[in-house]
C-alpha cells in the first residue's frame, strides 16, 4: 500500500472510532431498556439486547402519564413550528426584498436579540404568564416561541439568494401585492429552506426543558421532557425504567432526523457560514 492509502485508511479508522463514541449511548440505552436491573448492575454487565422491554415499558407507563405528555409535546412542537414557519418567512421576505424605511435598524435589533440570554427572563416571564392567566397552559409555551430571530435571519439569506428580483418585478407589473407575491412566488421557492427551519424548530421545541418546567405548574399536564425529569427524580436508580423512558423520548426525533438529515446538516452549516 502506498503511504497515501495508509493515511486514508488511518483516517477512516479514527473517524469510525469517533462514530462509535457518538452513537454508543443510543446502543447502551437500548441495552439498559431491554434488560433487568440485575443484568445491568452486575459486572461485567450484559452487553446484548434482552427481552425485558415489555416489562420496562409497563413500568414507565405506570409511573408517568407518558402518552398525555407525549401528546402535549406533539401539540406544542407542531403548533410552534407552523407558526414560526409562517411568521418568520413573511418577515424574511420583507427584509430580503424591500427597502422600507427603518429596515437596517430593525434588522440590527433582530440580530441583537440573538445575544440576549433568554434563560434569564424566566422569573419575570413567569410573572407575566401569571398576569395573562396562562400558567399551566400550553399557550405559555407556544405563543412566546411563535416567531424567532434565527429563522428570520436564516430565511432572509435564503430568499435573498434563491429568489431573483426579476421574478418579483414581473409579478409586480402584473399587479401582485406583497402578500400575493409571498403566497404564489416565495412559498414555493423557499420550500427547502422552510423544511430545514421546520425540523430545527421542531427539535428545539421538543427538547425544551427549563421554561416548561417553570410554567407548567400542574404535574399532570406537562411535556415529555418534564415528565422524564419526574420519572428520573422518583426512580433515578431504577435504570431499566428511566432508560426506557429516555429512549422513548429520543426515538421520534431520531427517526425524523434520519428521514430528513441529508439536507438538514448541510443547510445548518451553510446558515452558519453565511453562504
Amino acid at each position: 500500500m502506498t503511504p497515501r492509502r495508509v493515511r486514508g485508511l488511518l483516517l477512516h479508522v479514527v473517524l469510525a472510532g469517533g462514530t462509535i463514541l457518538a452513537l454508543f449511548p443510543f446502543y447502551w440505552m437500548v441495552v439498559m431498556a431491554t434488560n433487568t436491573n440485575a443484568d445491568i448492575y452486575r459486572f461485567p454487565p450484559k452487553l446484548t439486547f434482552g427481552s425485558q422491554l415489555p416489562t420496562n415499558l409497563r413500568n414507565v407507563f405506570d409511573s408517568i402519564d407518558f402518552f398525555g405528555s407525549l401528546l402535549n409535546t406533539v401539540i406544542v412542537a407542531t403548533t410552534t413550528t407552523l407558526l414560526v414557519l409562517f411568521f418568520d418567512s413573511l418577515a424574511a421576505f420583507a427584509f430580503a426584498k424591500f427597502d422600507f424605511p427603518g429596515r437596517k435598524v430593525l434588522f440590527g435589533v433582530l440580530i441583537g436579540t440573538f445575544f440576549l440570554p433568554v434563560g434569564l427572563a424566566i422569573i419575570p416571564g413567569f410573572v407575566i404568564m401569571v398576569e395573562l392567566g396562562w400558567v399551566g397552559s400550553l399557550k405559555a409555551l407556544v405563543v412566546p416561541a411563535a416567531a424567532n430571530a434565527f429563522g428570520i435571519f436564516f430565511l432572509r439569506q435564503y430568499i435573498h439568494n434563491a429568489v431573483p428580483d426579476s421574478v418579483l418585478d414581473a409579478a409586480r407589473l402584473d399587479g401582485a401585492g406583497f402578500f400575493r407575491q409571498y403566497f404564489s412566488l416565495i412559498v414555493p421557492i423557499v420550500r427547502p429552506g422552510l423544511a430545514f427551519l421546520g425540523i430545527y424548530t421542531f427539535i428545539a421545541s421538543w427538547n425544551d426543558f427549563i421554561w416548561p418546567l417553570v410554567v407548567l405548574v400542574n404535574p399532570d399536564q406537562v411535556t415529555l421532557q418534564v415528565a422524564l425529569q419526574q420519572l428520573n427524580s422518583v426512580h433515578g436508580l431504577d435504570y431499566s425504567r428511566v432508560m426506557t423512558g429516555a429512549l422513548l423520548s429520543v426515538i421520534p426525533l431520531i427517526v425524523m432526523f434520519l428521514l430528513f438529515a441529508r439536507n438538514f446538516v448541510s443547510d445548518l452549516a451553510m446558515g452558519a457560514v453565511g453562504e
Binding site: 411568521f87 430593525l106 440570554p117 429512549l247
Partner: protein, 320 residues
C-alpha cells in the same frame, strides 16, 4: 361639490394616485410599506412582550423584596449588597466558568480536528456528518439521565471498566470535580459534531488553489494548518465561541438532572442559572433571583463584547 371643486388645491387630486411612489413624503412612504411592517410585526411584538419586557421587569424586580405573592417592597441596593457577600453566588459563578471552560475548550478543539479530517476524506462523508450530528438532536434531559447511569459510582459502566483495568473507581457524581467532569464530557459528546460540521462548511469555502500553492512552496501539514486553515477559519471559530459562551454560561439542565436540587456535593453542580432558578422557584425569593439574573446578564454581555472585540481586531489585522 362645485364649491369644493373650485377650492381644490392647485395640484390635481389624481396626481398622487397615478404616481404613488413619486416624492410622496416620508409619512406616505412609510404608509405605502404597510404590508412589510405588518409582516415583520409578529416577531417584534412577541419579543417586546416576552423578551424585552421580562428583562426590563427583571431589572425592576432586582431592586425589590418580593415572594411572588404579597406586596413588593422597595429594597434599594439590598439585593446587590447581599449578593456581593453571598458566598453561594460566587461559588455558582466559579462553577459556571469552570464548567464552561472544561466543556468549550475540548469541544471546539476536537471539532476542529474532526472537521479537518472530514474535509480530507472522500468516502462516507455524508454518513459521518450525520452520525456526528445525532448527539446534538438528543434531549439534554434524556442524555443527562444516561450519563448519570454511565458514571454512577457503584454500578456505572465507567467505573466498571476502570476497575477491570486495575484502577480505582471514582465517585463521579459525589465529588466536586467529578460532577463538573461529567457535565463537561456530556457537553463534549453533544456539541463536538455540531461545531465540526460548521467548521467543515467553512473549510469547504477555502479555495483548493491555496493548498496547491502551499504544497508547491514545500509547506508541511502543520504549516498549512497554522498558516492557511486557522487564519481563514477565524471568523467562523469566533462565531462558535460566541454561541458556546452564550449557551455555556446558561448551563442548567445537566446539573439539575444529574445531581438534583441540592446541586450535589458541596453544591459543585450549582451554576448561576440553577442558583437563581432555585432562589425564585424553590425559595420564593423573586427579588434576589432577579438580582442574580441581572449579574448573569452582565457576565454574558462582558464575554460577548470580549469575543466581539476579538473578531473586530482579527478583521483589522487581516486588512492591515
Amino acid at each position: 361639490m362645485t364649491l369644493s371643486r373650485t377650492a381644490a388645491p392647485v395640484a390635481p387630486k389624481t396626481r398622487p394616485r397615478a404616481h404613488p411612489h413619486r416624492a410622496p413624503g416620508r409619512r406616505r412612504r412609510v404608509l405605502s410599506y404597510w404590508p412589510q411592517y405588518l409582516a415583520i410585526s409578529p416577531f417584534y411584538i412577541l419579543f417586546a412582550v416576552f423578551g424585552l419586557a421580562p428583562v426590563l421587569f427583571s431589572f425592576y424586580l432586582a431592586f425589590q423584596r418580593w415572594d411572588g405573592i404579597g406586596e413588593m417592597q422597595f429594597a434599594g441596593l439590598d439585593n446587590f449588597k447581599y449578593l456581593i457577600k453571598d458566598e453561594v453566588f460566587w461559588l455558582s459563578l466559579r462553577n459556571t466558568l469552570l464548567i464552561w471552560v472544561m466543556s468549550t475548550v475540548p469541544t471546539l478543539c476536537l471539532a476542529l480536528v474532526l472537521a479537518v479530517m472530514l474535509n480530507s476524506v472522500k468516502r462516507f462523508k455524508a454518513f459521518y456528518r450525520m452520525a456526528f450530528f445525532i448527539p446534538n438532536i438528543t434531549s439534554v434531559v434524556a442524555i443527562s439521565i444516561f450519563f448519570g447511569a454511565l458514571f454512577a459510582t457503584n454500578y456505572g459502566l465507567v467505573n466498571g471498566v476502570l476497575e477491570t483495568v486495575g484502577l480505582p473507581g471514582v465517585a463521579w457524581l459525589q465529588s466536586v470535580w467529578g460532577i463538573k467532569t461529567v457535565i463537561a464530557v456530556l457537553t463534549v459528546w453533544q456539541w463536538t459534531g455540531y461545531n465540526a460540521i460548521i467548521y467543515l462548511a467553512g473549510l469547504q469555502t477555502i479555495s483548493t488553489d491555496l493548498y496547491e500553492q502551499a504544497k508547491v512552496d514545500g509547506a508541511n501539514a502543520a504549516q498549512v494548518f497554522f498558516r492557511i486553515t486557522l487564519p481563514l477559519l477565524r471568523p467562523i471559530i469566533l462565531f462558535t465561541v460566541v454561541i458556546s459562551t452564550v449557551g455555556g454560561l446558561q448551563t442548567f439542565t445537566e446539573p439539575k438532572v444529574l445531581v438534583g436540587d441540592t446541586a450535589g456535593t458541596g453544591q459543585s453542580g450549582l451554576t448561576m442559572v440553577f442558583y437563581f432558578y432555585r432562589q425564585a422557584f424553590s425559595h420564593n425569593d423573586y427579588g434576589y433571583g432577579a438580582a442574580i439574573a441581572m449579574v448573569v446578564l452582565l457576565v454574558v454581555a462582558l464575554f460577548t463584547i470580549l469575543n466581539w472585540t476579538l473578531v473586530q481586531r482579527g478583521q483589522d489585522g487581516e486588512n492591515g
